[in-house]
Symmetry: C2
Subunit: 365 residues, 2 copies
DNA sequence: GGATGCGATGTTTACGTAAACATGGATTAG
DNA sequence: CTAATCCATGTTTACGTAAACATCGCATCC
C-alpha cells in the first residue's frame, strides 16, 4: 500500500520513508548517539540546569567560579546544546531559508554566498530550499522545509510567480524578501538597479558612436531579464534609434553562443548588450569563430561582472552587480521584519556601475 | 560588560546578541506568530492529538473518514508541523550540514548543488556552514550549526586539516563524508578519480606528440591540486620525459592568467595541463594576448568540464568530473552511516573522463 | 541592628511532538 | 454465545531547554 491518499499534498503530510523497511538501525545495540543534556552537565558540575542554561547563553548573573565549573563540566562531557529544544522553547530557529531554482547561474550563487556570509555574521544559518517546478524531472515529494515550521524567514531568489506552480508554497506569516523579481506589491524586494545598469551599458555603446545596440535577453520568465530588455528598448526609442529584433537566451553560455551565431548573420550589428556575462561568453565565442573581431568589428557589453569576465577574450566590458550588498540587504530585510513583526513591501535598489574593459570600442569606420 | 570571559569558545557558548538592545519586538502586542499546534487541530477535528500525529506522518491505522476530517482541520487552521518539536522528540533533524570554505570555485558549487538535490530526494534539507579561517576577515564568533546539535550528518567540501584552524570543529559521533580531500584514514571520502583524470589529460597531450607537458597547479593546501600535480609528475617521470617547473594558482581565473603570462616566456612550452577550467580560462587569455595560438602553438587541457568550457576560445579540452555522482554518493554515504550508526573510512572514487575539444592539437612542426 | 534590596542560584513549568501503552467496540472463531 | 482478536482511537509521558518565579544569603542603609 503505497501512499494513495488523495490529499498527499495536504499540510503536514509527510512522506512515509520508502516503505518503512530497513530504515532504523537494526536494533538499538549501538552506542546511543551521544546525548549529553544540560541536566547531565548540571549534575556533573553540582549546579542546577538553569545555571547551565545561563552559562550556555552567556547570560549575566553567574559568578565566575561557578561559570568556570560549568564550562569545565561542559568540556569534559562534550556537551552540545540541542538546538531543537532551544528552538522549541524559544520559537526561533535562527535559520533563514533560501529558495532558489538553480545554482547554475553565477548571479544566484553570488547572492547565496553573500546571504550566507551576512546571515552567519548575525548568528543565522542558511538552509537551501531547492525548487522543482513540475516541468522539471520528477523530483516529486521533494522535502521542503517550508511545509513545516523550520525557518524564521525566507529569501526568494527566483520569480515569485513560478513558486505557484512549484513544489513549495510560501507559508503565511513568515518574513520574506525577494531578490530581483516583480513582487514589490506582495513582498519586500531587493534588486540591483537593473534600469540604471542597462542605461549605463547602452549609453556607453551609443556614446562610443554606435548607431544602435542589439540585445541578447535572458529567459522570458525572468523579471530581471525583462527589466533589462524593456530599459534597453526604451532608451533606444527615446533616443530615436532603430530597435533591432531582440534575441533571447536562457542565461547559459550555450544559449549565448546560439544567439551569437544569429548575430553573425546581421551584418549591420556593431554593438551588443548581453543580459549576463555567461551568455556574453558564448556570444564572444560565436563572434570569434565567425571571424567578427571584438571590439574592432563589434562591441559587446555584459551584465554581472563575474570574476571570469576580466579574463574573457577580450576582457569583457560589463555592468557590475554588487552581490555582497544585495545579500546583505536581504538578510537585513528579513531580520528587520522578524524583529518588528511587520511585513514589508516595496523595492530597495542596489546601485550598479559599468566596468569598461576591452570588449567595447567605437564602431568600425 | 562585553563578553570578556576567557572561555568564549567553550562548548555551548553562545554569542549574546549584540548587547541585548532592541533585539526583541518592542513588546508582544503584535499578532503572535501563527501558532497552530496539533492540539489545536485535534480539538478542531474532534480527535486526539495522537490521531493528528498519525495523519501528519502518514501512518496507517486511521480510518479514512477520520483522516479526511483531520486533513480538513489542518487546512482550515493552516497547520504546519513544528520541526523543532519533531526533532526534539525523534532525535533527527532531517538536515545535513555542508561545510565549505567558498562558493567561488565552480567545483564546490556543482558539488553542493548535487548534494542538495540528492538530499532533497531523500527528504533531507541542506544547511550551509561557511567556514572562516583565521586569516580571513574577522567573521569572529560566526554562528555555526555544528557547535550545537542541529544536523544529523556533515559533508565537508574542503581540506579537513584546515578545519583545525577554523571557526568550526567537527563534533564527534556525527556521520561525516569528506569530498576530495586527504582524510581516508579518519573519515569516509568521496573523490573524483583525480589520478585517472590527470593520466588521461597528460596522456592525451603526450599521445598528440608533445615532448612534455607543463602544469598549472591549484593551491598548495588543496589535496586535489596536490594529487593532480603528483600524478602529472609521476607520469612524466615514468615516461622518461623532462619535468618542467610547476606553476601554481589558486583556482581563480586571474591566477591562471598570471601563470599564463609566465608560460609565455617559456618558448619550449607546447602543452599545458591546467588543474581547473577557471584557471585554464586565464591561461587561454594570456596566450591569446601574447600571440601564442591555441591549439596551433600550444595545447591546453583543463579539469572539471564546467558548462562554460565548451565556449572558451577555443573550446576547452578538459577532464569531466561527475559532480552529480559525487554529490549523490556523499549523501548516500552519510545516510548509510546514520542508519547503521557505524562510522566509515576509506575512499570512494568517481570516474572521470576526457572531453576532447578544440584546445589541443599536435605540437607545431 | 533590623529592614531592605540585590545578586546568585534553584525549582517549576510549558513548548509541540510521537512513542508506548491503554481502551473499547466490532468481528470472528469455536 | 462467548472468548479471543484486532483495529481505531485515546491517554500518558518524555524529549532538552529557558522563561518565570522562588529562595537564600549577604551587604547596605539609616
Amino acid at each position: 500500500m503505497m501512499s494513495q491518499h488523495p490529499a498527499d499534498d495536504a499540510p503536514g503530510q509527510r512522506r512515509p520513508e520508502s516503505d518503512g523497511t530497513a530504515t532504523r538501525p537494526a536494533n538499538g545495540v549501538h552506542a546511543p548517539r551521544q546525548r549529553v543534556s544540560m541536566a547531565d552537565v548540571a549534575r556533573h558540575a553540582g549546579v542546577s540546569s538553569q545555571t547551565v542554561s545561563r552559562v550556555s547563553n552567556g547570560y549575566p548573573g553567574v559568578v565566575d567560579s561557578t561559570r568556570q565549573r560549568v564550562l569545565a563540566a561542559m568540556r569534559e562531557l562534550g556537551y552540545r546544546p540541542n538546538s531543537a529544544a532551544r528552538a522549541l522553547k524559544s520559537g526561533e530557529f535562527r535559520t533563514i531559508g533560501v529558495i532558489l531554482f538553480t545554482l547554475a547561474t553565477t548571479g544566484n550563487v553570488r547572492t547565496l554566498e553573500a546571504i550566507t556570509t551576512s546571515a552567519a555574521r548575525e548568528g543565522y544559518a542558511i538552509t537551501i530550499i531547492p525548487v522543482a517546478v513540475p516541468t522539471q524531472d520528477g523530483v516529486h515529494g521533494a522535502f521542503t522545509r517550508l511545509g513545516e515550521l523550520a525557518v524564521d524567514a525566507v529569501i526568494v531568489i527566483m520569480e515569485v510567480h513560478l513558486l505557484d506552480t512549484s513544489t513549495v508554497t510560501l507559508p503565511p506569516g513568515v518574513p520574506v524578501v525577494v531578490v530581483s523579481a516583480d513582487a514589490g506589491d506582495r513582498y519586500s524586494v531587493v534588486d540591483t538597479d537593473q534600469a540604471d545598469g542597462t542605461r549605463q551599458a547602452v549609453r556607453h555603446l551609443l556614446d562610443l558612436g554606435h548607431r544602435t545596440v542589439w540585445h541578447v535577453a535572458g529567459p522570458e520568465e525572468s523579471f530581471a531579464a525583462g527589466h533589462r530588455a524593456d530599459t534597453w528598448r526604451a532608451i533606444l526609442e527615446s533616443d530615436g534609434r532603430p530597435v533591432p529584433p531582440m534575441l533571447r537566451g536562457d542565461w547559459s553560455t550555450e544559449s549565448g553562443y546560439q544567439a551569437g551565431l544569429q548575430l553573425l548573420r546581421e551584418s549591420g550589428c556593431t554593438a551588443v548588450f548581453v543580459a549576463n556575462d555567461q551568455m556574453a561568453l558564448g556570444v564572444l565565442r560565436a563572434f570569434h569563430e565567425g571571424g567578427r573581431r571584438v571590439p574592432h568589428d563589434v562591441s559587446v557589453v555584459g551584465f554581472d561582472d563575474i570574476a571570469e569576465a576580466s579574463s574573457f577574450i577580450p576582457p569583457l566590458t560589463t555592468v557590475h552587480q554588487d552581490f555582497t550588498e544585495t545579500g546583505h540587504r536581504c538578510v537585513e530585510g528579513v531580520l528587520r521584519q522578524m524583529r518588528t513583526d511587520a511585513p514589508e513591501r516595496g523595492t530597495t535598489l542596489v546601485p550598479t556601475w559599468l566596468v569598461p574593459r576591452a570588449s567595447t570600442a567605437p564602431p568600425p569606420a
